[in-house]
Amino acid sequence: DAGVTQSPTHLIKTRGQQVTLRCSPKSGHDTVSWYQQALGQGPQFIFQYYEEEERQRGNFPDRFSGHQFPNYSSELNVNALLLGDSALYLCASSSGQGGWGGYTFGSGTRLTVV
């Protein structure tokens, strides 16, 4: 049973560019949350999608946007990349928003902005 799949695993972008990260949730899961993890820190919540709508949002600027598709997969878009956007981006999924039993995380996409 495949868990959460994220693509790509690594990518390098230039400051000012735009990037799209992709996430396929675990089979049977319908809720997706995105996190940003800087080196040496814990994951920081970006936003959560359920029923194709953004349900919760963390303290991130509008440059960060997302989408959820009818098959529950999700995208994270970041516009006008800054050097400070370099981080590991984690996608997590659950059946329902509550997440009793925790969320299942993917291995992440390592974004480097140069």
């Binding site: 820190q41 814990g42 994951p43 919760q56 509550g98 997440g99 925790g102 969320y103």
Partner: protein
């Protein structure tokens, strides 16, 4: 202002002994707490959780204790095994929405054979 703090960046214990990982929080609205374990090059893996209506939850070798008055929780691993060596994250959420969790910065546990 960090709402979830894990004040010990690292912990080293001998195989077979108890490992105690601590976590403090400041937001009294948090009502659901989770521990995740993370190995290198992998995403965090859910370990155990506790609701604010309880003060203890046990799952095999893992027990989480919650002290709401002190805004403190701890994870006990007994007995510790070398395979438990990983980074442990404490996370907290409001309105029972674990998908919007606030994480601590993690504690690296090393269990020595």
């Amino acid at each position: 202002d960090q709402q979830v703090k894990q004040n010990s960046p690292s912990l080293s214990v001998q195989e077979g002994r108890i490992s105690i990982l601590n976590c403090d929080y400041t937001n009294s609205m948090f009502d659901y707490f989770l521990w995740y374990k993370k190995y290198p090059a992998e995403g965090p893996t859910f370990l155990i959780s506790i609701s604010s209506i309880k003060d203890k939850n046990e799952d095999g070798r893992f027990t989480v204790f919650l002290n709401k008055s002190a805004k403190h929780l701890s994870l006990h691993i007994v007995p510790s095994q070398p395979g438990d060596s990983a980074v442990y994250f404490c996370a907290a959420s409001e309105n029972n929405n674990a998908g919007k969790s606030t994480f601590g910065d993690g504690t690296t546990l090393t269990v020595k054979p």
